[in-house]
Amino acid sequence: MLAVCGALAVGVAACGSGSSASPPRRPPSTTAAGPTTTGPAPAGPAPATAPAAASHEELAQVEQQLAGVPGLLSQAQQANSAADPDQARAAEGG
């Protein structure tokens, strides 16, 4: 990565992202001239892989959400156990 970055004349910004998984960024246009630095982004592997990565991330979020449910259900069960009116009748006395 360093070698690649070092080989780029204006690659400081791209290497500065610190993410090896990120697709190489095109350096910002620093000169007015040079038609190759403008125009639509080139079609590469990133658009094809992004949805799959997003789905995986969302699934992980769902799993994380679901991880809290057993605790809530357990608390509910304990509270319901403490709500036995027959035991409550004995405690009431009178």
Partner: protein
């Protein structure tokens, strides 16, 4: 509270509380077995033949104070419980108010018992009985509060599972197995809703619990509490089923579920 006020005013005519400076006498004749106590003839103070003397009844007053103090402690604990439970159904404010009203009423009743003039045991018995029948701290407020607490926990779980189902619905695409498991999850959620309701709508027999009030005859209250507990358990099982279905959907879509 209004019930208690009606009880108070209804019983006032039948009670004799010479020198009482607080509220009228509480209802007697609640149908409960009276304490096996001797009812002495009122003492007569010399020179005031028409005014029976106040009697100490020290032991009974002390016992009443202990009973009230226990209930005040319990009411405070219940208030802490309901505050900590969250409020996905929006009913806890009413429960907190009911607990607070009970506390206020019991404090006033204790003061009346401790400082009032009782010329015979009948009136004191009626007041001490009201500690139980007028407030039902243990027979009603404890199970009622815990039922609402349980509903709150299930409501929070329902909200989480509902959000998960919505997210998964956008991910299943054409995956037939994932779609089938998601449909099963939604069926389980609907089943849970039938028993406890989908927040903020409290449903099933649990929906009747917030309105339950202390009664001398607790038959109806107990039936409502028991029905609510059955619904809570059914909802809990349905939500657990929904959670498992959700994990299946995640697995169908290629994740690595942990359960």
């Amino acid at each position: 509270m209004s019930r208690l006020i009606r009880l108070l005013s209804g019983a006032a005519a039948g009670a004799v509380l010479a020198g009482a400076t607080v509220t009228p006498a509480f209802a007697s004749g609640t149908g409960q077995t009276p304490r096996p106590t001797l009812v002495p003839r009122p003492a007569v103070t010399a020179g005031t033949a028409s005014a029976p003397a106040c009697r100490p009844f020290t032991a009974q007053r002390q016992r009443a104070h202990t009973d009230v103090a226990m209930r005040l402690t319990t009411l405070d604990q219940l208030t802490t419980t309901i505050i900590a439970a969250g409020d996905p159904y929006g009913v806890n404010g009413g429960q907190r108010a009911a607990l607070g009203d009970a506390r206020t009423g019991l404090v006033a009743l204790d003061e009346k018992i401790q400082t009032g003039c009782y010329t015979d045991r009948t009136a004191l018995d009626a007041d001490t009985r009201t500690i139980f029948t007028g407030y039902r701290v243990y027979w009603l407020r404890v199970p009622q509060t815990h039922i609402l607490e349980a509903a709150d926990r299930l409501g929070a779980a329902r909200q989480t599972l509902g959000a998960s189902a919505a997210k998964l619905a956008g991910l299943v695409g054409d995956n037939a197995k994932a779609k089938a498991d998601l449909a099963a999850m939604n069926d389980a959620l609907a089943n849970a809703d039938a028993h406890v309701g989908n927040p903020p709508a409290l449903g099933g027999s649990v929906g009747a619990v917030p309105a339950l009030a202390p009664a001398v005859d607790m038959t109806a209250d107990v039936a409502a509490l028991k029905a609510a507990r059955r619904d809570l358990e059914a909802a809990r099982k349905a939500l657990d089923t929904a959670r498992r279905d959700a994990l299946r959907v995640v697995a169908d879509l290629g994740a690595n579920p942990s359960a």
